[in-house]
């Protein structure tokens, strides 16, 4: 605690506050622009960190990470094009809200859910990093495999109209994720001799194509209708459509709490990331709701669920880094670079070597949460005006930024081809009503599931009875079977009723 006070003293000077605020703003804007996001933030920030003091550099990087996680909700809600894949579930209910003239309400909920998720998760990091990281280590590949298997059952809830189509899309997602070097024996799969495919299809260009480009093409096709709508609805004048009412707060707070919990846990676990967290949180909220059929038509809880989980991942993914020296996420790897550049070994040694700097990092994280609230609140009024801009002005700009975003990650034109390829798939999946959300889930979870399964085979010595030493995985396997049976049964009932 004493250290934390010193930390605040180190951070609360105009210079550092300015850099943290600059980071949050940059992140928020990059996040809000479709196509650009964390990957771009990294490219911009790395060379800058050389020239800043350690506290300012770290504060700025944390600001970018937090800001982009929150900002990605903006374009998801206003344009139906998530700034990052993890905000894809936000668009499911956020965009219908915006089309109903409730853009400001949805943006506010997205922002508040983001800030709450982020802030609570930051506190968890500060207070519980060491013990939590210990517990997380108990979740080995065998347990992780069972948890991932269970999370696949959420496809049932997120399939939209048809379970069969949802499953087909998810299977396609798994299929595309198998491309690249197979991770156990390092045999290239389906690379057609292309070196660029050895590392597999990268999530960023794939998601940009599938989510943003495809959506822009789709909207271009409906431009007349959408423009007519735009001039008719614009921004609702009614006060209750601009703010979150008390009733909505009451409905959303438990959802935010669950989202924050899911996000924090997923962040600590190795290799899952923000997309898994926001999908799980959205799926869980929909499953728990009394009116699941209303999701996708503009339920404010949907926005709250996705955004709280998405943002809670950022701070908690630093837990393994700080406590054990394990870089659990992109932003953690980034912070490592900032740490070592300033002569600090990331990991448990930091606390002994430089407790003051660690405290300053903590303080700047808390500071970033508040700055995010202020900047987000100021910007969202401005951003909400976008809904009034005719689409013919928006689409070309967004397509350009998509190309920039896809190119930035690998610095190669090949990524743009990947983006275009998935734009086609995304376009047809919209036209034929296949869920791109389940496709993404398949793409993100599939390879992790395969990998942990292969690890488990080795760890269990190819003997399934050894599972008895892994009670957590048995629980999740049973849960999976039960959920699959239940989903199948209710689905066939629905078919009978129809």
């Amino acid at each position: 605690m004493d250290h934390l006070m010193t930390g605040f003293m180190d951070v609360l000077n105009p210079g550092t506050i300015l850099w943290v605020a600059a980071g949050v703003t940059l992140g928020y804007i990059l996040g809000a622009i479709p196509g650009l996001g964390k990957a771009t933030g990294v490219a911009v920030a790395i060379p800058l960190t050389f020239y800043l003091t350690p506290v300012a550099a770290l504060g700025m990087l944390i600001g970018i990470a937090k800001g982009s996680a929150a900002g990605s909700a903006v374009s998801a809600i206003l344009l139906n094009t998530p700034g990052e894949p993890s905000s894809a579930p936000t668009a499911l209910d956020g965009y219908p809200l915006a089309r109903q003239g409730k853009a400001q309400k949805a943006l506010k909920m997205g922002l508040f859910a983001s800030v709450i998720g982020d802030f609570v998760s930051t506190l968890i990091l500060i207070l519980l990093a060491a013990p939590l990281a210990r517990y997380a280590l108990l979740i080995g590949p065998v347990e992780l495999c069972a948890i991932l298997l269970f999370s696949l059952t959420f496809i049932g809830g997120l399939s939209g109209g048809s379970l069969t189509k949802g499953l087909i899309a998810a299977a396609l997602g798994v299929f595309f994720a198998t491309i690249g070097l197979e991770t156990e024996t390092f045999i290239p799969r389906l690379t057609f001799g292309l070196l660029e495919l050895e590392d597999g299809i990268s999530l960023v260009p794939m998601a940009i194509g599938m989510l943003a480009v495809a959506e822009m093409i789709n909207q271009a096709g409906n431009m007349k209708a959408l423009d007519r709508e735009t001039s008719a609805i614009s921004d609702s004048a009614a006060h209750e459509d601009r703010v979150i009412t008390r009733v909505e707060w009451r409905r959303s707070l438990p959802v935010i709490a669950r989202g924050t919990l899911i996000g924090s846990v997923i962040g600590i676990l190795p290799g899952l990331g923000a997309s898994v967290a926001s999908f799980l949180s959205y799926g869980a909220t929909k499953n728990a709701s009394k009116t699941p059929e209303k999701y996708g038509t503009g339920m404010i809880e949907g926005v709250a669920a996705a955004e709280s989980a998405d943002n809670a991942v950022v701070p908690s993914s630093l837990v393994p880094l700080f406590a054990l020296g394990i870089p659990g996420s992109v932003i953690a790897a980034l912070l490592i670079s900032a740490f070592v550049l300033h002569g600090l070994t990331p990991g448990p040694l930091m606390f002994q070597q430089q407790p003051r700097l660690v405290a300053a990092v903590y303080a700047s994280m808390i500071l970033a949460s508040f700055i995010m609230l202020i900047i987000g609140y100021t910007c969202q009024r401005l951003f909400a005006q976008i809904i009034k801009v005719p689409l013919r002005l928006i689409i070309p700009g967004v397509l350009f930024l998509c190309c920039v975003g896809a190119y930035m990650e690998t610095g190669s034109i090949f990524s743009i081809y990947v983006m275009l390829f998935f734009a086609l798939i995304g376009f047809f999946s919209r036209k034929l009503d296949f869920s791109f959300v389940t496709f993404l889930i398949g793409f993100v979870i599939g390879p992790n599931l395969e990998f942990t399964f292969r690890q488990s085979i080795q760890l269990l010595g190819s003997d399934i009875t050894n599972l008895k030493h892994h009670p957590i995985s048995i629980v999740f396997i049973v849960l999976t079977l039960a959920t699959a049976w239940w989903t199948g049964r209710s689905n066939s009932r629905k078919a009978v009723v129809k």
Binding site: G140, D199, P320, F339, L341, T345, S412, Q455
Partner: protein
Amino acid sequence: MTVTTRRNILGAAVAMTIGCTGLMPEAVAADYPAKPITMLVGYGAGGQTDLVARATARVMSADLGVPINVVNKPGAGGAVAASELEKSANDGYTLLFHSNSVVNSAPFIMKQVSFTPESFEYAGMITAYQVGLATQKDSPFSTLSEFVIWARENPGSSYGALSPEARLYIQEIAKKEGLDINIVPLKGGAGMMNALLGRQVVLAFSGGIHYRNPDELKTIASTTTFRHPSAPDARTIEEEGYPLGMDSRTTLFLPKGTDRAILDRLSAALKMAASDEEFKTFTASANIPIMYLDVDEAYKEMSATYTKHKGIMEAAGLTAQ
């Protein structure tokens, strides 16, 4: 870094004049460098090699008097960037900062990669990778020979492997000693640390990041030909009786046919990094030992390791996929 000084402009003007009048290449080399240099890096921004590259670029840029722009071209362990370098002009203005493993190991692992030491020119090497076998601090063995004895008494133990080389080591040891060990695939340094700290595996191949947690992890053997500066007491795998030591070092690659005078100029700038205070602080905190090699030593190291690694991998029956 990107400030254009009068000297640069003058240099550029001189270079252009020479270019137009078509003087001998030696004259061009004498003016080198006259414009900004592009440094390719074969890994993504923020990784360990990328950081060393950027820190090196900073020192070299100060010495050369021109900006060095770092461009990340990740993919296939650096093979994508190396292929791009191969196609670049050999005027010394495009170079690649990467592990020499892309030449001395990758061709034996990846079918699509067919580099040989003759594919590039080299302007020196700067840091080494501390690859080795790591385990928990309290594990019952502290050396490789103790591990072999322990593994014989405890068949079915788990070993973590994050790369083809990592599999090769344990397969060779197991074959020679008749051990029964399960090889658990791991993803990257983070997966390796998780598996060791979570006690899912008893031993793992590490690229060096286990030195971040010296309270809980230790090295039982280095798989390099030298002992690790971070663990001078741990013997090398060769000292333990297995001729399998494979070194990799960060190297400055240039396109084939680059003028020797340019290589020497770059090598002199690279040498500045070895004694630069900031560079030393940074590499020390990342547990990266500085082992500078000049142009001639770099060529020698490249062809020697190429031949040696080829022999090791072929003897182990590893075929390029």
